[in-house]
Amino acid sequence: MLQALTAPRTRKLWLLLGYAAAAAALFSAPLYLSDFRLNLLAKFLAFAIVALGLDLIWGYTGILSLGHGVFFGLGAYAMGMHLKLAAAGGRLPDFMDWSGVTKLPWFWAPFESFGVAVLLGILIPAALALFLGFFTFRNRIRGVYFTILTQALVIITVTLFIGQQAYTGGTNGLTGFTKLFGQGLKTDGMKTGLYLATVIVLIGAFVLCRYLVKSRFGKVLRAIRDGENRVRFLGFDPAMYQMAAFAISAALAGIAGMLFVLHVGIISPSMMAIVPSIEMILWVAIGGRGALVGAVIGAVALNYAKSSLSESYPEIWTFFLGGLFIVATVFLPGGIVGLAKQIGPLFRRKEAVHDQALNPVLRESNRSV
């Protein structure tokens, strides 16, 4: 009895210790990483925020969105527009000059202010997600139909951004940023500050997602994933929950996009196209869907692999990426985190495993999804 009480508690303690160690390692990274590496890590952590949002919608609610590149891109463009205006310093952004635009378009004006730009970078993706969710989930358009629609959303957004060159910078996107808050964007102090800001936002996003999935709201999300019709028969309205989860997920992607632009200094339509969008899914799949830590690990690990492999061997990277998609779906439905759960019982005492096999509740909770 005593053992049964303490066992989960010690586990929790270890988990907390692990989180604390990870946070400490992230916060102290500027001390031991070179500037170049720190910038890379900052980019990966921004991607991890998208992965958290995707895990919320895919891992917990069972809705596969291939459109998160769009939400990411909208956030990134919001920040990019602000930086572009800051760099232009009161005049028109350079690409508008080239395209013959003489007056700043009305929808560019609000982005002059940093606060408004950040707010719009969160609200526009969330609003678009709510809009799409409203017209799909309410009509029970779901599963692969929804997935295909999100992919079409990516295509049209990308063609729109390329086509409206005078207002969006076209294929080249937005770049040539210089200043944020009147400070140089390339200075060491600014880079460290932006990195730390990313770490704080990531931790905030993680805590938020964790709170959401542990709450009653999260329970309903998982119930929708496992049996939408049963949830409906129990008197819930799945569409409301799906829309909320989708909007939160899109907002997180928007935030990640804003941070991404600050680190990388460019945003172009190709970064929100189909391939990046589906790569985001792979981060979650490899890390472990339905496990928030998995999403973060997957995003960082895969991007690390990409930056170290793709520069020297681009062909191998594509084979590797394609292979990962196949392996992740066929052999590793629970990702890296799920793998730990899959092989974990092999090392435990026999009776414990036996107990688990007999207890349907335990078995159910351990089932990989």
Binding site: L64, L132, F135, T136, N139, R140, I141, G143, V144, Y145, T147, I148, L149, Q151, A152, L153, I155, I156, T159, L160, I162, G163, Q164, N229, I274, I278, I281, L282, A285, E315, T318, F319, L321, G322, G323, L324, F325, I326, A328, T329, V330, P333
Partner: protein, 299 residues
Amino acid sequence: MWLTQLFNGLSVSSILLLIALGLSITFGLMKIINMAHGEFIMIGSYAAYVTQNVFKSALPKSAFDAYFPVAIVVSFAVAFAIGYLLEATLIRFLYGRPLDSLLATWGVGLVLQQVARSIFGAPNVAVTSPSWLDGGMRIMDGVVFPYKRLFIIGLVLVCLLAMYLYIYRSGPGRRMRAVMQNREMAACLGISTRRVDGMTFAIGSGIAGIAGCALSLIGAIGPTIGTNYIVDAFMVVVLGGVGKLVGTVAGALGIGMFNTLFEWWSTASLGKVFVFVLIVAFLQWRTMGLFAVKTRSLD
């Protein structure tokens, strides 16, 4: 000229139809989202390219024009074989998991693209179309229907007829429809659902191969030729409804025509937005698409 636009719309629709045919059947039958379908188009295109090269180097010049009919058959056969292989080695592990099948086949597509890049090189290659397809039919002043486009429309009609005969007038087609409507019951009645799945997937892939062969007539071909069409083809399936030939035809005509018309009226980028909004609006009214198989089941 509206007549030219109409013809262009018809031409776009016909290619979309050819691509969506295979998708709609595999999706309806096996609930598999085959994202590698675009790569079967690519395989078909490169098969045509290789056939052309063989004809150029091994046969006398006078025989060159005859390569295209041969290329159609070769494209179909190669895509069919690779499709059959893919179904047997990977797809069959993914039944009942449509979203996973989407991701896994996307991975397959990436690998196939890279293989093509390694064999044929990254730059696009061109296929010389046979001389009997040069030129066009002059309808009136300023309106010319190119023979290539007309030929493709004809080819699509032949494929459509063949598919119709296969699905609705043949033994294997009857078994296929039975599995599509009720897999368990069909299996109980002695239909080998495994064999039906394999054949259907292979045929769908083969038709994509023919589509690729047709595409080689109207432009250069490269490793990513399929990705340009795949999402539109999926929209055809969503719009038309799953599992019925007439739905796919209607979906392809709808999307192809509206796309061309909107792009004519506004710009290419805005036209795509209009079509997307129209499709979402349409799905408000008919969630399962134009011609869905009626069913009482909840999902």
